[in-house]
């Protein structure tokens, strides 16, 4: 039996910058994970449904538009409603430090800002994946 970590990398909302998300997706693949990448402009509903069908262990959200307090939280709330509590949710992008506690309270386990070495994200996932 071989268990592989499956990760959904998603870009909620309207910003069109996916370079960071793609770099993280590649790094996770190179670390042996299966990464489902869905592209730009996703709604919270699309992200949650995709996470469910793909049965991922981790949802990684990337956002640079400033709407994280709405969109990240929407994803976290909707996943909680669907009892997907065993899925680790992490975020990245341009997120002001003062918003991080609020995001964590809403269910985003960790937030990675610009300049984070990708190894740090890989190690965090490996250590904290819930199943």
């Amino acid at each position: 039996m071989v268990k592989k970590i499956r990760v959904l990398v998603a870009k909620p909302g309207l910003d069109g910058h996916d370079r960071g998300a793609k770099i993280v997706a590649r790094a996770l693949r190179d670390a042996g994970m299966e990464v489902v990448y869905t592209g730009l402009h996703q709604t919270a509903e699309q992200i949650v449904n995709t996470a469910m069908q793909e049965d991922v262990d981790v949802v990684g959200l990337s956002l640079l538009s400033g709407a994280h307090m709405t969109l990240f939280v929407d994803v976290a709330v909707s996943m909680k409603e669907k009892k997907m509590d065993d899925v680790l949710i992490i975020g990245g992008g341009i997120i002001p430090q003062e918003d991080v506690p609020g995001l964590k309270k809403a269910g985003i386990a960790e937030v990675f800002g610009p300049g984070t070495p990708v190894e740090e994200i890989v190690n965090y996932i490996k250590k904290n994946v819930k199943r």
């Binding site: 190179d30 299966e34 990464v35 069908q53």
Partner: protein, 312 residues
Amino acid sequence: MTDLAAKVIAGDQRSIARLITLVENDAPDAVETMKQIHPYTGQASVIGVTGVMGSGKSSLILELALAYRAQGKKVGIIAIDPTSPFSGGALLGDRIRMMELSTDAGVFIRSMGTRGMMGGLTSSLYDVVEILDAAGMNVILIETVGVGQDEVDIVKIADTTLVVLIPGLGDSVQTIKAGLMEIADIFVVNKADKPGVEQAVAELESMLDLVNNPDRHIPIVATSAKEKKGIQQLTEKITEHQVYLKTTQKFEQRRRQRYEAELIEIIRKRLMEFIFDEKKLRTTVDCCIDQIAKKQLDPYSAADQILGKILK
């Protein structure tokens, strides 16, 4: 019946997803549930979509799925991308083209890595088809990895195989006559919004003239997933092919072929587990390898020894 089996048969998306993960991971817990759902399978039409890289398979599948949804059918989609042989990881990106389906409760999409399997498929694919079938999908669309010439295993599992080509392949169509070109039940020339469609269709036609199949002419359909053209004609040709299979008894033949491939795959996996299990044959295998390296034993005699232990 296991709780999971009952929920899968009832079409619960979360349970379908969970069971697919179990079979992908070769989890022993999945076996009992797979046994129980088998009697509920056999209803879905399985359509394989294969073709060269960049031929627009994902976009075409989106359009086919929308067409089947408009007919009220439930659609399962399995999209396969290559697993890296170096890291074991995979980037599964086929969903990018299908996101408008992701909130439709009548569609279930799963992305899969090949996980070391050759031939353009993944080794748990047979199981995943059974799961989606038992869960009530009427149509199952399988997207293979972008293929070259001889990744043709899709024919072992699909009722109808679409080979997707694009204009401008030119003489290279000639070079792929073997393999990929022999498995098509229907040829699709996608990206028909690009120049060179007529030529591509003509080249295919002249090639097919050389093939002698007295009871069925292989259709060629020009489509543009981008401009949503040719999709209805394609679904009609798929239906015609399915009627043809049923009226000529070829349908049973294809299904038998699938079950044969599935059975052999299960036996292969179990044999491999047995051979490489530390508690079973691993030590014998390692010992044989040492002897082969020292020329005390040849590989054929070693294979006989190992098989002898299994068959006793």
